[in-house]
Subunit: 159 residues, 2 copies
């Protein structure tokens, strides 16, 4: 199982791209979707959730689009996750039992609890500006590599 839902991953990718593109103007969702190679309709739905949570401002019509409601530096990764997938990931127990960690913790409890704290800290620490600058620095990518891209990469590797 994936850690994050696809919606959440798409949302994060879009947010990072938005942080790269700059925070001043509204960016059209269609453009973002094209650049990320995603369905524009689907991405619209996802970003709507971020808008409803107050992370984004949206504007209709020409020159419309979405932009951050706060500086990218202040937006932590966990806020995107919380808006789309919720915080379950950081709160739920490994074995899916309820009422946990209170009276009768399960065998894994102690180690698991430490781990979720680490995970949460990771997501609470990373902000969009930092992630965006990493992408810039290292020429990193946000799009899925297509089969062709991978072939291309392997070819270059062999040289």
């Amino acid at each position: 199982m994936a850690l994050l839902s696809k919606s959440c991953v798409y949302g994060i990718r879009a947010a990072i791209l938005m942080a790269i593109k700059g925070e001043r103007d509204y960016l059209s969702i269609k453009d973002i979707a094209e650049e990320l190679n995603l369905s524009a309709h689907f991405l619209t739905k996802i970003l709507q959730q971020l808008t409803q949570e107050g992370l984004l401002l949206s504007h209709r019509g020409p020159k419309g689009g979405v932009k951050f409601s706060r500086p990218a530096r202040e937006i932590k990764l966990i806020e995107i996750v919380a808006a789309i997938d919720g915080l379950e990931l950081f709160e739920a127990c490994a074995l899916g039992l309820h009422g946990c960690g209170t009276a009768t913790p399960c065998p894994l409890h102690e180690k698991w609890a430490k781990h979720t704290v680490l995970l949460r800290t990771l997501f609470e620490t990373e902000d969009l500006e930092k992630l965006a600058s990493n992408v810039g620095d290292a020429g990193l990518r946000l799009r899925t590599l297509s089969q062709l891209d991978i072939l291309e990469f392997n070819k270059n590797k062999k040289k």
Copy 2:
């Protein structure tokens, strides 16, 4: 999103219970399912996967059931996960991109990679015997608490 699929969680719970019950005799899946409050049919399917992977031995007919093919001490949690959910969890990247960590790692790569190693180590370290003995020592539970159980617990807590 949950870390592990429900099938996987059920498989782990069943495995821990089996380790508690003892490794000598075949245990009937129906009994295990009842004790864990799960659908017997569904659990049968799940344990079949463990049998096919060689983790369990199964035996049909009266006195039949399943038992570990090796001592519980030697069976690590990750083997159960690998048999049911696969190792994707420990190998996949946070942003769901393919061909990662090779030429063009994504923004999160470094921190994320460290984290998956930690997670994997946790699952590789814990064996069924240890988990089972933890349960025994502390009177822990493997069943989901029903609403009634939770009410009961809160009542006791108030006293």
